[in-house]
């Protein structure tokens, strides 16, 4: 059987599994559809949260960014896990006690203002749509490879599947479907990693393999990689190249953004008890950590494998001949995401950093040996995880499994985000403000239309994404960090912040962050409309992906000063805050 058929079979089987579970679970209980996770054990809820959370950015994109960014990319690892500590301690238990279902609902009630609720709806939509763009980028890459089409066609096919899956299928809310998706994606991620770790280090546990010795050279993996990269003029792997300020702020943005993303927060609204909200966050992180502890090993080992592929005789020997390039090169060249060009016409492909300073050893070697520039001209980082099994010569079923895993990651998150967007529009905006008498059927129709619009916008912007999947997603975190997290936190930890303070804080955090992003990434992400680049940013060394932390500080400060300059919140709001702080009296969560 050829690889193409095998891919289709495995992806088809995984979809059949999700749909089968959805039908089985729906027959069991219809209320499960709306209130995901109620009555579900915290371990199961944690697993489903992990599937919701780990998106194309974590699955497809992150290891590639680590492979090419090395230590600097640690910000992703710490940021996307550290946020769960904030969630478990600062938000989840209190929001569960509050007992409503959407983030804007809490903000509207706590700040006794429908304008606060509307501002929260806007913040939620901006953050979530940006996040969906990142998912679309990842889905496009996956489909272009496995259906052997160019990446734009892959994106359209992906968008169509997300549409059918989220809008027509409506199986997002079913916890057990997500448990199945978690299982598919985690097997798909860890199995190739285990194989590769065994091949390179003899240790079957990838996180331990990362710090073990290379079987060929007897040197540690990281030291072997470091030496190869240095010889070829690439930036070293374990040293910091980003500024300390930017790395600090980037990690902070990702952490508080994690705690401010609506589709993750809502999962904690529906656990049976306040105590479960705390443990659920812990279990979610356990299941997330399985992937996040594997990712740095995948990154480093894949990078090493690529270097050995390109330089089979070592960097002092001859580069690989164009005729000897492995099959995965041909497979990926179809997508346009990988390209080689024999610039000096010697029939070999030299992969080195031709942007090195002219007096560096690698450039002298290049002159001596007649290299005329780097000949691996395109290597899109987002292909790394998907190509990883092919790079390591793993069997065909592993390649197909990784394809299914990447789609599970992208689809589960996209569906969760689209549900958050559509409930904000149909429940908070239309039912809460514009037309409170809307019928249930009308609400559902509005929800579906808003999902369709969100997918269309995200697909259009996904054609020219502002970065690799994980970088686009990082922008979404910055927006959530600057707008939603501070409002929620102040709503719980302060009784003094009033309606005016919260609205002013959210608006200034959101606007300043979005403007900073647009100045660097182009207005509405349209290429060529930017005034600055992340290589040479407006403020110090702060890149647009890191600005969320600054936006959050602005949000806190504005809310504090405006609240103190205006009247205190009414007594019943003080009572509300005091009641969310203690678990006693938490009713069972109610449905809309």
């Amino acid at each position: 059987m050829d690889q193409y058929t095998l891919n289709l079979l495995v992806i088809g089987a995984s979809f059949a599994l999700y749909i089968g579970i959805a039908i089985w679970a729906r027959a069991g209980s219809t209320s499960e559809f709306y209130a995901a996770g109620r009555g579900v054990h915290p371990v199961m809820n944690g697993m489903a949260t992990a599937a919701d959370w780990m998106s194309a950015a974590s699955f497809i994109s992150m290891a590639g960014i680590i492979a090419f960014g090395g230590y600097d990319a640690s910000a992703y690892l710490m940021g996307w896990t550290g946020g769960y500590v904030l969630l478990a301690m600062m938000l989840a238990p209190y929001l569960r006690k509050f007992g409503k279902f959407t983030v804007p609902e809490f903000i509207g009630d706590r700040f006794y203002s429908s304008s606060a609720r509307m501002v929260a709806v806007v913040c939620l939509i901006v953050a979530s749509v940006t996040y969906v763009i990142g998912q679309m980028t990842g889905v496009g890459v996956a489909f272009s490879r496995f259906l052997e089409v160019d990446s734009a066609t892959g994106l359209y096919i992906g968008a169509a599947i997300v549409f059918v899956y989220a809008v027509l299928g409506g199986m997002k809310g079913i916890t057990y479907t997500q448990v199945a998706q978690y299982c598919v994606l985690i097997f798909a991620y860890t199995i190739p990693a285990i194989f590769i770790s065994l091949q390179l280090t003899g240790n079957p546990i990838p996180p331990l393999g990362l710090f073990s010795d290379h079987v060929g050279s007897g040197q540690p993996i990281l030291a072997t990689l470091e030496a190869t990269l240095r010889d070829l003029g690439f930036t070293t792997y374990t040293e910091r190249h980003d500024s300390m300020l930017n790395m600090f702020l980037f990690t902070m943005s990702l952490m508080i953004g994690t705690a401010g993303l609506p589709h993750v927060i809502v999962r904690f609204f529906t656990v049976p008890r306040v105590a479960d909200a705390r443990t659920s966050a812990g279990w979610a992180l356990v299941f997330i950590a399985v992937l996040y502890l594997t990712a740095p090993a995948v990154g480093a080992m894949a990078r090493l494998n690529i270097m050995t592929t390109m330089w089979p005789n070592g960097v002092q020997g001859e580069a690989i001949s164009e005729a000897d390039l492995p099959q995965w090169f041909a497979n990926w060249q179809v997508t346009g995401l990988l390209a080689v060009e024999d610039k000096n016409g010697d029939g070999k492909i030299q992969f080195y950093n031709d942007k090195s300073p002219a007096d560096s050893p690698v450039m002298q070697t290049a002159t001596e040996r007649g290299w005329q520039g780097n000949e691996l001209t395109t290597f899109n980082q987002d292909i790394l995880v998907l190509a990883n099994p092919e790079i390591a010569n793993l069997p065909g079923w592993v390649i197909a499994l990784v394809a299914a895993g990447g789609l599970a990651a992208a689809l589960s998150t996209a569906a969760g985000l689209l549900l958050a967007i559509s409930s904000a529009i149909s429940h908070d905006l239309i039912k809460g403000a514009i037309n409170p008498n809307i019928s249930e059927a009308g609400e559902l129709m509005a929800a579906r239309i808003s999902m369709g619009v969100a997918i269309a916008v995200a697909t259009y912007l996904g054609l020219n994404p502002p970065g690799f999947a994980a970088q686009t997603v990082a922008l979404a975190f910055g927006i959530a960090a600057a707008s939603i997290f501070p409002a929620l936190m102040m709503g719980i930890f302060s009784t003094r912040i009033n309606n005016k303070g919260a609205v002013a804080g959210m608006l200034s955090g959101l606007l300043i962050t979005v403007i900073y992003i647009f100045l660097h990434k182009g207005w509405f992400f349209i290429p060529e409309t930017n005034s600055f680049t992340d290589a040479d940013p407006l403020l110090l060394s702060i890149k647009s992906t890191s600005f969320g932390a600054i936006g959050a500080v602005i949000n806190f400060a504005v809310a504090y000063f405006v609240s103190n300059a205006t009247e205190e919140p009414p007594a019943e709001i003080r009572d509300l805050v005091e009641s969310v702080r203690v678990p006693r009296g938490a009713g069972t969560a109610t449905t809309h």
């Binding site: 550290g82 500590v85 990362l210 540690p220 993996i221 105590a275 705390r278 678990p583």
Partner: protein, 85 residues
């Protein structure tokens, strides 16, 4: 619920939270980023301990922090008589 009890419970909660968040910041922003040069002498698998904290250690500590917090708070809920019945 007795109001004085609720206030004391909240103070104890905030105290615990701040202690754990100091550890949270120390392992990630501290050992992983700002204080990494201080750990440069301790080598592990071809690199230094700061790299390990940035790519693995901090995640493991985060896990311990959340479960410790959940365990302590569930106990405190009962001690202060504010648990769900």
């Amino acid at each position: 619920m007795n109001n004085g009890n609720g206030e004391a419970y909240w103070k104890a909660n905030v105290r615990l939270m701040i202690t754990l968040l100091i550890i949270w910041a120390l392992v990630s922003f501290g050992f992983g980023i700002v204080l990494r040069p201080l750990l440069a002498g301790i080598s592990i698998g071809g690199t230094d301990l700061g790299f390990w904290f940035a790519q693995q250690g901090s995640i493991l500590v985060f896990l311990v922090l959340i479960f410790f917090y959940a365990f302590r708070m569930n106990k405190m809920d009962r001690e202060y008589g504010v648990d769900e019945q």
